[in-house]
């Protein structure tokens, strides 16, 4: 049985329809990536899973429970965690405080273990533990956003464009970390990316979202081979 099932979801921003009946599913232990052009609805789909905005029709089922109509903060306490688009760390709070916020609703006894795990994954965060979030570089902020999301011990991690606006060298580091999170910690990952090359190479499966509908799906490596994908998303961009 799949961990997350999204079926027939339509989402609107006011009168504008952003998703036209999307069906995806994520199985336990997978890395699934969602690629597509700007405005295709990738982030909208991710946010719809989080309940903000809520889907107008269709259903979202997580671990057998229908979470379509739950408020965001309840969904986020069910074992789903998100590193939002644009990172959204707390700029005036220190790295450590940011991580503490991530653990706001988890067992306090686990804090030290979880913190150590995040520090092992991103040693840079340990070096900067007492620095304000706002003084970190873009890449470090992304590490912090992912680390913060991991502090609640999620079973499903949603990542929204972790490579956005980050130096290429750090992009590679972050994708390596995503792989580690999946393999070593056994966290299922749904990854939204514009950087299709990296994302598809990493993912077990991928979906291609065009204008609010799923146009293609398949194993990551297969999608990477398809000429139409190469033409649309990888033109000149194999960085």
């Amino acid at each position: 049985m799949s961990m997350l099932t999204v079926s027939g979801v339509e989402t609107f921003y006011g009168a504008i329809q952003a998703l036209h009946g999307v069906d995806i599913h994520v199985d336990e232990g997978e890395i699934v990536t969602l690629i597509g052009a700007n405005g295709a609805g990738k982030s909208t789909l991710l946010m719809t899973i989080c309940g903000s905005p809520q889907a107008r029709t269709g259903s979202i089922v997580f671990e057998g429970e229908d979470i379509t109509a739950l408020p965001t903060h309840q969904i986020m306490r069910k074992g789903i965690s998100q590193s939002p688009e644009g990172r959204r760390i707390f700029p005036r709070m220190t790295v450590l405080e940011n991580l503490k916020m991530g653990a706001a609703f988890s067992e306090p006894a686990n804090f030290d273990t979880d913190l150590e795990q995040v520090y092992t994954l991103f040693p840079r965060l340990k070096e900067r533990a007492e620095q304000r979030g706002g003084t970190l570089s873009g890449g470090e902020q992304q590490m912090l956003a992912i680390g913060r999301a991991l502090m609640s011990r999620p079973r499903l991690l949603l990542l929204d464009e972790p490579s956005l606006g980050i130096a290429p060298m750090l992009v590679r580091q972050i994708f390596t970390a995503i792989k580690q999170i999946n393999v070593q910690q056994g966290v299922t990952i749904l990854l939204v990316e514009q950087n299709a090359y990296h994302a598809l190479r990493l993912a077990h499966r991928g979906y291609v979202l065009v204008n609010g509908t799923i146009q293609m799906t398949g194993a990551g490596k297969d999608l990477l081979e398809r000429p139409e994908i190469r033409a649309a998303y990888l033109e000149g961009g194999t960085s």
Binding site: C50, S52, P71, T72, H73, Q74, M76, R77, S81, Q82, P84, R88, I89, F90, P91, R92, M93, T94, L96, E97, K100, M101, G102, A104, F105, A129, E130, T135, R148, S152
Partner: protein, 432 residues
């Protein structure tokens, strides 16, 4: 490092002088006076020119000093600066704590030495300043920590004052019973207001709270049977020292001075009130410092930083804001109850919008979220205006100038240095 460019400075100062001249000629140079045959224009170009010259010279001197200062102190790094600010803040904190603690004694001693004869007056100012410090700290929870711009904080102050006055008058309960009740009522009002409006953000929230502040005042003004309307409530019971009243004599047992074998003096009550508000303010401060390190306090701060991120971490923004609003309101209510018992008389006139504005100014000028900043700002804004009461007309002018000056040189407030709530080597105890 470049040397000071004197000709350039002189040119700028000359320009400032010319601008000043252009302003002073019509504003100072021509003055209308009522002479024998109606209005006469009195020409005083000499004064105008002198003022303009003063501006030019002053500009020159100030810019020289500023440049000299800039050259002397090499740029310090951000961490050095924040460490220095932190130690300064702690030092100021303890200094003002000691000053406030010993103020009545100091005043008494100096009066006995014949240095002044206004102990009571200075104590009254002290009480007033401490009241505003407490209000500032209360509002700091809402504005500084949770980042909710509340322009109607005075409403909770009013609710506290009126609930104290009404409960004490109707039921005859003592101050120590009524005080927590007043706080509870204010917190309750905070929840009532907060529930519908906290989905609003920023400017919209500010407008609604502004409206709420006015509604409370208007209700107090018009509900004549209950609140006495514009006449207010008088003969509010004075606080007693745990059952011992501050009176010359009492029909119901001992009074304060009899119990302690002192000569009767009206100053006892003032000193008691002073320490009462001092302790109340310290409680507010201790509470804030403590709660910042607890999950709920950290959640307030996170909410101020980024609401969407908070929601994605499983935080319920409405509840979190509501707690901040209610707790801030509660401290406003305590301060209101104190105000009522000190004055012995309250009327809606004490709870106008300007009060909210002053409290907010204290928080903003002090540096949002900074506890010491609030103390300094309250001392300057309230104590300062009170001290210069003789210069009635110029008080608001000075008030405005102080605000402009702070906004120009310290746009984030006097002490805008946020203390982390957790550190690597365990929690270091923060100072008041």
């Amino acid at each position: 490092m470049a040397a000071i460019d004197y000709p350039q400075q002189a040119k700028e100062s000359l320009l400032a002088g010319i601008v000043a001249l252009a302003l002073t000629v019509p504003m100072m140079g021509l003055r209308t006076t009522s002479g024998q045959d109606g209005m006469v224009i009195d020409i005083r170009m000499g004064d105008a020119a002198l003022t303009a010259l003063g501006v030019a010279v002053g500009h020159f001197v100030i810019s020289l000093i500023r440049q000299a200062l800039q050259q002397r102190s090499p740029k310090e790094t951000k961490t050095e600066k924040s460490a220095r600010l932190k130690s300064v803040a702690i030092w100021i904190g303890w200094a003002s704590f000691a000053f406030a603690l010993t103020l009545p004694v100091t005043l008494n001693l100096t009066e006995n030495l014949g240095l002044h004869d206004k102990t009571r007056y200075y104590l009254d100012i002290g009480i007033l300043v401490l009241t505003y410090v407490m209000l500032g700290w209360g509002l700091n929870i809402v504005v500084g920590l949770a980042g909710l711009l509340d322009l109607g904080y005075v409403a909770f102050y009013a609710v506290g004052a009126y609930s104290y006055a009404l409960i004490a008058a109707h039921f005859g309960w003592s101050f120590w019973v009524c005080l927590p009740l007043a706080g509870l009522f204010a917190a309750f009002f905070g929840v009532i207001l907060g529930f519908p409006v906290l989905r609003l953000r920023g400017d919209y929230l500010a407008i609604v709270t502004l409206g709420f502040g006015e509604i409370v005042r208007v209700v107090l003004l018009n509900w004549y049977q209950f609140t006495g309307g514009p006449d207010g409530l008088s003969r509010i019971p004075r606080p007693d020292f745990f059952g011992l009243p501050f009176k010359r004599s009492s029909s119901e047992g001992e009074t304060f001075h009899q119990f302690f074998g002192l000569d009767y003096s009206s100053i006892h009550r003032i000193i008691f009130l002073y320490y009462l508000i001092f302790i109340l303010a310290l409680i507010t401060n201790a509470f804030t410092l403590r709660i910042r390190k607890l999950p709920v306090g950290r959640a307030w701060e996170a909410l101020r930083e980024d609401e969407i991120a908070c929601r994605s971490l499983g935080l319920n923004p409405t509840n979190t804001k509501l707690t901040a609003f209610a707790i801030g309101a509660m401290f406003g209510g305590f301060a209101g109850a104190f105000f009522a018992t000190r004055q012995g008389f309250i009327s809606p006139e004490s709870f106008t919008f300007i009060e909210s504005a002053v409290i907010l100014a204290i928080v903003v000028l002090g540096g949002m979220g900074s506890q010491i900043g609030v103390v300094i700002a309250a001392a300057v804004l309230i104590g300062g205006t009170e001290m210069f009461r003789g210069l009635e007309e110029f008080r608001m002018l000075a008030f405005g100038m102080a605000m402009v000056a702070i906004m120009v040189w310290k746009p984030r407030g006097l002490l805008a240095n946020r203390e982390p709530t957790v550190t690597l080597n365990g929690d270091k105890e923060a100072k008041p």
